[in-house]
């Protein structure tokens, strides 16, 4: 366990993280997440985070060492897509019984690895540690080592049991496992000066494939994505890339930075959400590749592509402006993930009336105020208040994750999913247009008038009640003002 504790300290100590750089030594040790509040916590555990980060590696057998709770209710429940093997969608678990709890689960784990290799022959088995065996002291590193030697197959221990922390920590610990056991263990057959890694992109709903065509057109090869639609060998060979783009900054910054340290692969933090961010990311990729020996004419081709695609995308979005002009959006995400999404929404005529800033930095908040002076910055929006806000129609549509979906729908408000369970892809130049199209589709659906209508036999609707209450208030204040007027 001390090994894990060191690992966690190491991850907390991330020098690549801007927030971390300004912290004191003591603050840094405490880590990046607030302590969880019993009875008031929401969100996944470290194991969940590790699984989210690695499961998109599609040809690997992902084996969860623990009781049925950890895999039984969560397997095959994410919308990440594969262009080949479907093995990542198979749920493997040691499903520890009472017997294993008494006598230890290592033997069952070893036999499970053997069964998986015999039946499914994957290029590697990833073994995820969970709370129960961690507490019992099952040494999955040792089991993986023995199994790898015995079966001649990489068996990779992913040590992120749920109780060590939240999802975000699990993302990073998963990245550490890749650094320790996978990256750099194989050599690619060929390399080109145009090879890149994309780190922290999971190919939710096929989003990676929205940005692949422009990269293909530019002759830029994704040597490895960590981990969307990835193959084991691609991750193992990723140390030969010339440059890297880090997509989801909080998730795997440790991987990007350590790959720069170990293999000299420069990285930048970018996003494929929104038009300007997509363009900026393409320029950055080109810049880094050129700095490492790619032909500088690449930049001209990038600029030409950007000019063409931006014009197309803006034109497509502009077409929605007459329909979306003045519509108010409540944007609830973990933090403002992408400024260019806000830009694109504004271009389409939408106004951001409120956004959650729980995970945003001070600069984020200031920038947001600048862009949209009337915006409500919401720190900890409880469902009840969200419901009230929507019901009082301070917004026309809510964009959020699935968790708050029913708050919006029950208030009879249009809602659109922008989190990881979403079924539409919103990346790159085509994705942002798709997002605007989906917003339009949600807003213009004819059900809204119908679902808000009161049944014919109902005498008082909630709108009428609200109007009446407002009228009563107004009448009361008018009455209060009246005597004064008379005296005058």
């Amino acid at each position: 366990m001390s090994r894990l504790a060191d690992k966690i300290q190491d991850v907390f100590n991330e020098p690549g993280c801007a927030t971390n750089q300004v912290k004191s030594e003591k603050q840094r040790k405490k880590g990046c997440s607030k302590p969880l509040q019993p009875g008031g916590a929401a969100g996944g555990c470290a194991f969940d985070g590790a699984k989210i980060a690695l499961q998109p590696i599609v040809d690997v057998a992902h084996l969860v060492h623990g009781p049925i709770a950890c895999e039984g209710s969560s397997w095959d429940n994410r919308g990440v897509k594969s262009s080949g093997s479907k093995l990542y969608r198979t749920g493997f678990t040691t499903d520890m019984s009472e017997n294993d709890v008494v006598f230890g689960g290592e033997k069952r784990l070893f036999r499970s690895i053997r069964e998986i290799i015999a039946k499914y022959d994957p290029p590697a088995v990833f073994v995820y540690q969970t709370c129960v065996p961690a507490m019992m002291g099952d040494d999955i590193v040792a089991v993986c080592k023995v199994a790898a030697e015995k079966f001649g197959k990489p068996c990779i221990p992913i040590i992120a049991p749920g109780f060590v922390g939240p999802k975000n920590l699990g993302n990073k610990l998963a990245g550490e496992a890749m650094l320790d056991y996978v990256i750099g263990t194989q050599e690619p057959e060929v390399t080109t000066p145009y090879d890149i890694n994309i780190i922290g992109e999971y190919n939710v709903a096929g989003e990676l494939w929205q940005v692949k065509p422009p990269l293909d057109e530019l002759g830029i090869r994704i040597l490895s994505c960590l981990s969307g639609d990835a193959r084991y060998h691609e991750v193992a060979q990723s140390h030969r890339a010339r440059a890297a783009m880090m997509v989801c900054s909080t998730a795997m910054i440790n991987v990007a930075r350590k790959m720069e340290e170990r293999y000299g692969i420069p990285y930048f933090e970018g996003s494929f959400y929104g038009i300007s961010d997509t363009s900026e990311s393409l320029r950055q990729i080109a810049r880094l590749l050129i700095a490492r020996g790619a032909d500088p004419e690449l930049m001209d081709r990038v600029e030409a592509l950007i000019a063409r695609e931006e014009a197309k995308a803006w034109a497509a979005i502009k077409a929605y402006t007459p329909r979306l002009e003045g519509k108010k959006v409540l944007l609830i995400t973990g933090g403002v993930k992408s400024w260019s999404v806000v830009l694109a929404l504004q271009e389409a005529g939408l106004t951001i009336v409120g956004t959650s800033v729980k995970k945003s930095t001070k600069e984020d908040k200031e920038r947001l105020k600048e862009m949209s002076p009337d915006v409500h910055l919401i720190d900890d929006l409880r469902p009840r208040e969200m419901y009230k806000m929507l019901k009082e129609a301070q917004a026309d549509i809510m964009l959020s994750g699935g968790r708050s979906q029913f708050v919006a729908l029950k208030a009879r408000m249009p809602w659109m999913d922008i989190n990881q369970e979403r079924s539409y892809a919103y990346c790159g130049y085509v994705g942002i247009v798709e997002m605007v199209r989906q917003i339009d589709k949600a807003l213009s659906n004819p059900i809204w008038d119908q679902v808000r209508s009161a049944p014919p036999w109902e005498e008082v609707t909630w709108e009428a009640r609200a109007d009446a209450a407002n009228a009563a208030d107004a009448a009361q204040s008018a009455a209060a003002a009246m005597p004064a007027a008379r005296v005058a």
């Binding site: 019993p38 009875g39 499903d95 129960v132 469902p383 979906q405």
Partner: protein, 457 residues
């Protein structure tokens, strides 16, 4: 008599089973203004939350004691106490249902003892019911957790009858197993009320998880049976226990308050529906209403129309014991043969499943056994096997995340059975292979292909 076999392989592949705490949480969600609280790492709750949200397409109340590694090792009393205080402060529930998980069971956290201390420390919580239940996720399954919870709710919340107090013969307790949907419970309520009886369902997920628009947003369950209604169950004239899993709770209710019970293992099919209706006629002393005589007649007609398509079909079912017995038994009644039966946990119900063998296993086992079957019956996770085998899938149970209306799938009583014949019969019809000359040539080899009237087009 089916032989019950336990899988001996080490690695579970494509789990059918879910853990006890989730079954427990669902049972608590059938109480009004309730908050289920899982005593474990926050992931235990978060996985369950996502599962139920996707199944019911509803906000789901569920909290966690958010055990860290250190707290787990030292013991979780403080986390449980803080969680209860915070939940009461934030959401004002009438009842908190506290379920253990794997880690806190291993540590040996004694929830009953914890709650005694919490009660002592916090007199201000006196009007909040606290129901602890032991649900380690390294043994048993969803159904076991659900059953244990209902028994514990009876134990903690039902009041013994006051001496000399009269029973109300019109009041009927209904202990509803985890195989029943909100739609099933609504249907049963209609049937029971038609006999002039006043049912109290425990748990009653038809009020809380049936997908309706509440007047205000509450973070706890908005609907379900109230703590006061549960307390009064001891004064009812009779208890109906639905599903073998409810036997323990029914026996607890009988022991505590002297309410006699009738256990109905199945509710789908003609004979099962007859038994339900006859039981209600007997309890109420009333004749069977005209409406149900008519529905019975419609069901008989549906059986006559449908039997062509069901007869001789090979079915592979993966479901929890009570669901397996109910659906498997009914399919056998319709002339199907249950060629493969896989379940999650042991139960006295299993011996009666009309199959040579019932395997306690996973969906990989079901897939291997379903190769030559005509229909796969299991929850949504059967979708991959269905695709690979080219065998149609009929979804039953939890989770059902890739179809609408999971809460309103009704399979009980005459009308429920009639509609189920249509739903599954139509799946068979949609999959009829049109005979052509080659089919007739090979008919001698594979006679199954041409024995149903070809009305698919």
């Amino acid at each position: 008599m089916a032989k019950i076999v336990t899988q001996t392989k080490s690695c579970t592949v494509n789990p059918l089973r879910m853990s006890q705490p989730l079954g427990a949480a669902l049972a608590f969600m059938g109480l009004r203004n309730a908050m289920p609280l899982l005593h474990g790492s926050q992931g235990c709750t978060s996985f369950g939350l996502v599962l139920f949200v996707r199944h019911f397409r509803e906000s789901i109340p569920m909290q966690t004691t958010a055990m860290s590694e250190v707290a787990t090792v030292l013991g979780g009393f403080e986390n449980v106490e803080q969680a209860i205080v915070n939940i009461v402060g934030r959401t004002k529930p009438d009842v908190i249902g506290i379920c253990t998980t794997g880690v806190t069971e291993i540590k040996g956290d004694d929830l009953d003892g914890f709650i005694k201390v919490v009660r002592g420390n916090h007199p201000e919580l006196a009007n909040v019911a606290l129901v602890p239940v032991s649900t380690p996720d390294f043994k048993g399954a969803f159904e076991d957790g659900f059953a244990a919870t209902v028994a514990k709710i009876v134990d903690v919340l039902v009041e013994g009858p006051a001496p000399g107090a009269a029973r109300d013969p019109a009041k009927l307790n209904v202990l509803a197993g985890s195989h029943l949907t909100p739609g099933d419970i609504d249907e049963l309520r209609d049937i029971i009320e038609a006999f002039g009886l006043v049912p109290t369902f425990l748990p009653d997920i038809s009020g809380s998880l049936d997908g309706h628009l509440p007047d205000d947003f509450t973070p706890t369950t908005h609907g379900g049976v109230s703590v006061a209604e549960v307390a009064a169950m001891g004064r009812a004239g009779h208890t109906l226990a639905l599903g073998e899993q409810m036997r323990k709770a029914a026996a607890a209710l009988e022991a505590k308050a002297g309410v006699p019970f009738t256990l109905l293992q199945r509710l789908t099919g003609l004979a099962a529906s007859d038994e339900l209706v006859a039981t209600l006629a007997k309890i109420s002393g009333r004749p069977v209403p005209q409406k149900y005589r008519r529905q019975r007649s419609q069901l008989v007609d549906a059986m006559l129309d449908g039997h062509f398509y069901f007869g001789g079909k090979q079915i592979a079912i993966g479901a929890e014991p009570d669901m397996l017995l109910n659906i498997g038994g009914w399919l056998a009644d319709m002339g199907c043969s249950v060629a493969a039966a896989v379940t999650t946990t042991n139960s006295p119900a299993l011996a009666q499943v009309p199959s040579d063998e019932v395997l306690i296993g996973d969906l990989e086992d079901l897939e291997t056994r379903a190769e030559d079957c005509d229909l796969l019956v299991t929850h949504s996770h059967g979708r991959q096997a269905s695709e690979r085998l080219g065998v149609p899938l009929f979804r039953v149970g939890i989770p059902m995340f890739d179809r609408l209306g999971a809460a309103h799938q009704v399979a009980v009583g005459y009308r429920g059975t009639r509609d189920l014949i249509f739903a599954i019969g139509n799946l068979f019809i949609a999959n009829i292979k049109e005979p052509d000359v080659d089919a007739w040539r090979s008919a001698a080899v594979d006679p199954d292909q041409v024995d149903a009237p070809a009305t698919a087009h």
